[in-house]
């Protein structure tokens, strides 16, 4: 390779980097104006910190049933700010540890769902013809399935584990993303620079990964953020129905324990309230972030604070 060509390549990549940096900065400037989105982001940062610092905040043996520190079903006190469950475990400790599983499942399931959706969407949009029609028919069919029921059925017939839950949520929620990404792919591929890339000898793989993918990424980002809150709610639902991993503490599982311990009929609201508030807070935070991202990318939607 000759020297001028090398510098040209360098400046091209530097240019691309600079452009990317400036578009991120532009995105952030615009995002900053959405007060609800900022609130969501702050709430998420706090919750993520709590989840990461769980062993420091609550100790690593809160889940142990055998040497629990308190008596069964104690009311909130100085030692146990949120009271104890039927095994004498500190509810605050369980709540802190539950953040981990909720966030893990939410993030992983949404990532899986969006990955499948993006792949299907780009492939269906790039290769037209009967192949695309077939894929979109399958997608449409998934779209009319009752997602929750399908996830429940999958979790029932497979073994109980966190991975089952992630898989059950991931493989049932991708069609919305696939439809959006396909539409965006079609829009991108009708532009002249794709024709130029083809003329210069770019193959299918090159066009899909280098030209289409970067252009659908913003959409995918918004979709992921919105998908996470759905995944977190579904995870809590599955755990509440007793389909979660029995060895892991989760917010939905805590609610199931509370119901089994008779917290409802004996009026132990302090056992029931915190896990639900935690689920709602995380889901709301992701929804607010997702809506803010969506309205930054597509101001016409009018969901902003205008």
């Amino acid at each position: 390779m000759t020297a001028p060509a090398a510098t040209a390549a360098q400046t091209a990549s530097a240019l691309a980097r600079a452009r990317r940096r400036s578009s991120v900065a532009r995105f952030w400037r615009s995002y900053r104006t959405h007060r609800a989105g900022l609130f969501g982001l702050c709430a998420l940062a706090v919750i993520a910190l709590v989840a990461l610092a769980a062993p420091l905040l609550a100790g690593s043996d809160v889940q142990s049933v055998t040497n629990a520190p308190g008596a069964a079903l104690e009311s909130p006190s100085a030692e146990f700010p949120l009271g104890t469950d039927q095994f004498g475990r500190s509810l605050l400790g369980l709540l802190v540890w539950g953040a981990r599983i909720s966030l893990t499942v939410g993030l992983m399931a949404a990532a899986l769902s969006v990955a499948i959706g993006t792949l299907v969407g780009i492939v269906a949009g790039h290769f037209g013809g009967w192949f695309s029609t077939l894929i979109m028919r399958i997608t449409d069919w998934f779209l009319v399935m009752p997602t929750l029921v399908l996830a429940i059925v999958l979790a029932t017939v497979m073994s109980r584990s966190v991975w089952t839950v992630i898989l059950a949520i991931g493989v049932t929620t991708w069609p919305t993303t696939a439809r959006l990404v396909r539409a965006q792919t079609l829009a991108v591929e009708s532009r002249p620079y794709i024709e130029r890339a083809t003329a210069l000898g770019g193959g299918h793989g090159h066009i899909m990964t280098r030209h289409v993918l970067p252009n659908v990424m913003p959409l995918v980002l918004a979709q992921t953020t919105l998908g996470i809150s759905y995944a977190i709610l579904t995870e809590a639902t599955l755990a509440f129905l007793g389909l979660g991993d029995p060895d892991v503490v989760s917010w939905g599982g805590m609610l199931q324990d509370a119901r089994e311990a008779g917290a409802v009929s004996s009026g132990h609201w302090w056992y029931l309230a915190p896990p639900g508030i935690a689920i709602a807070l995380v889901a709301l935070a992701f929804t607010l972030c997702g809506r803010a991202v969506e309205s930054v990318l597509n101001p016409k939607l009018g969901v902003s604070n205008r």
């Binding site: 609800a36 028919r137 449409d140 069919w141 009319v144 399935m145 009752p146 929750l148 029921v149 399908l150 429940i152 059925v153 999958l154 029932t156 017939v157 497979m158 809150s229 709610l233 809590a236 639902t237 509440f240 129905l241 007793g242 389909l243 939905g252 609610l255 509370a258 119901r259 917290a263 409802v264 009929s265 004996s266 009026g267 609201w269 029931l272 309230a273 896990p275 639900g276 689920i279 709602a280 807070l281 889901a283 709301l284 929804t287 607010l288 939607l301 009018g302 969901v303 604070n305 205008r306």
Partner: protein, 356 residues
């Protein structure tokens, strides 16, 4: 519209073959024929979806759990002969495709198998529980559609004001709340009672028994209040957001400026011009919600011990009673397909631009 436009179509077909797309028989005949084609397409699509549901349910329950006979006899001592006879009894010794065609034929004729735990036909169990679910979800969907449309309209019309922010904020917050948790809290607060609040509502079930006539209706309504409130609170946000977005889309339109220029009052512009157009996407939503809510009521019915399909599904899951879970899966998916079909068929009648 449909009666006026089918007459020319009948003439057109009686006169002989008419070119399919650009026939000279006038726009009305063309639109009626287009609608029939559209209906046929949607019916075909629904049939394909239904078939796909049967395929999924067959494979989910026959293939993934491994050997169904082992699941059935889990934890019990069984001899090889017993296993073989069970396999024969359930038709599991036949080739997969024969099992599959047998399953489809049975399912389509309403035979969904025998429940393990109730020892009764699954179809019969579902038919028994269906009315309770229809009552609960029907009332909830009507209430939250009306509420969502009303609040969504107000929100969009006064966009950016305090009322709009409070409205959307409350709806989004309630939307993020798990329905089963809200149900449990409502039971604690209003059925069991906290502090000064006495228990005013029953903790679960559908009736206290013994009441007849008007007293019976009042009793069921009393039992239904909290489950309906839960479903409405968690569900109305979606209708609100769709109505708000679609009305905001319309609000920039020229025809609204024209209507105002004619001197119409703001209220009339909203009611007679903007809202009817913005309603279109929301109507589809209502139908799709009807399909969703049958499945979505699983949790609310479980929490409130409502004697419907959702509660039955939960009972089936905890065993797990696979034939019952499978039958309910087919019913829930079938409900979704049916509601989508209805929405698709209704839509071109409301909006002539669709399906032409």
């Amino acid at each position: 519209m449909s009666t006026a436009s089918t007459a020319p179509l009948a003439e057109g077909t009686a006169d002989g073959p008419v070119p399919v797309k650009t026939g000279p028989s006038g726009p009305r005949a063309r639109s009626a024929r287009a609608y029939l084609l559209y209906v046929a397409g949607k019916l075909g699509g629904a049939a394909v979806s239904l078939f796909a549901v049967l395929v999924t349910s067959f494979f989910l329950f026959r293939i993934i759990p491994g050997d169904p006979v082992r699941t059935m006899t889990h934890g019990r001592q069984v001899s090889a002969e017993q296993l073989a006879s069970l396999r024969h009894q359930f038709g599991l010794d036949l080739p997969v495709w024969q099992q599959f065609t047998g399953y489809c034929v049975k399912a389509l004729s309403g035979d969904l198998g025998i429940s393990y735990q109730f020892h009764a036909p699954v179809g019969e169990l579902i038919a028994q529980k269906l009315p309770a679910t229809l009552l609960l979800t029907g009332v909830a969907v009507v209430i939250y559609s009306v509420l969502g449309l009303w609040l969504g309209t107000r929100s969009a019309w006064h966009r950016g004001r305090l009322g709009d922010k409070v409205n959307t904020g409350v709806a989004l917050t309630l939307w993020s709340v798990p329905s089963f948790w809200l149900g449990l809290l409502l039971i604690i607060t209003f059925s069991v009672g906290i502090g000064p609040i006495p228990g005013m509502f029953p903790t679960g079930g559908m009736e206290s028994g013994g009441a007849t006539g008007f007293a019976y209706v009042a009793d069921v309504a009393h039992h239904m209040a909290l489950p309906v409130v839960t479903l409405v609170a968690v569900g109305y946000a979606q209708t609100l957001l769709v109505m708000r977005a679609s009305l905001l889309d319309e609000m920039g339109s020229d025809y609204l400026t024209t209507a105002r220029a004619k001197g119409l009052r703001d209220d009339l512009v909203r009611r007679h011009h903007a809202v009817p157009n913005a309603l279109l996407p929301t109507v589809t939503m209502v139908f799709i919600n009807l399909g969703h809510v049958a499945a979505g009521s699983i949790l609310v019915e479980t929490v409130f011990s409502w004697p419907g399909l959702g509660g039955l599904f939960y009972q089936a899951l905890s065993v797990p009673d696979l034939p019952l879970v499978q039958g309910l899966f087919v019913v829930f998916a079938g409900a979704m397909i049916l509601m989508n079909l209805l929405a698709d068929l209704l839509y071109p009648l409301l909006d002539p631009r669709v399906g032409r």
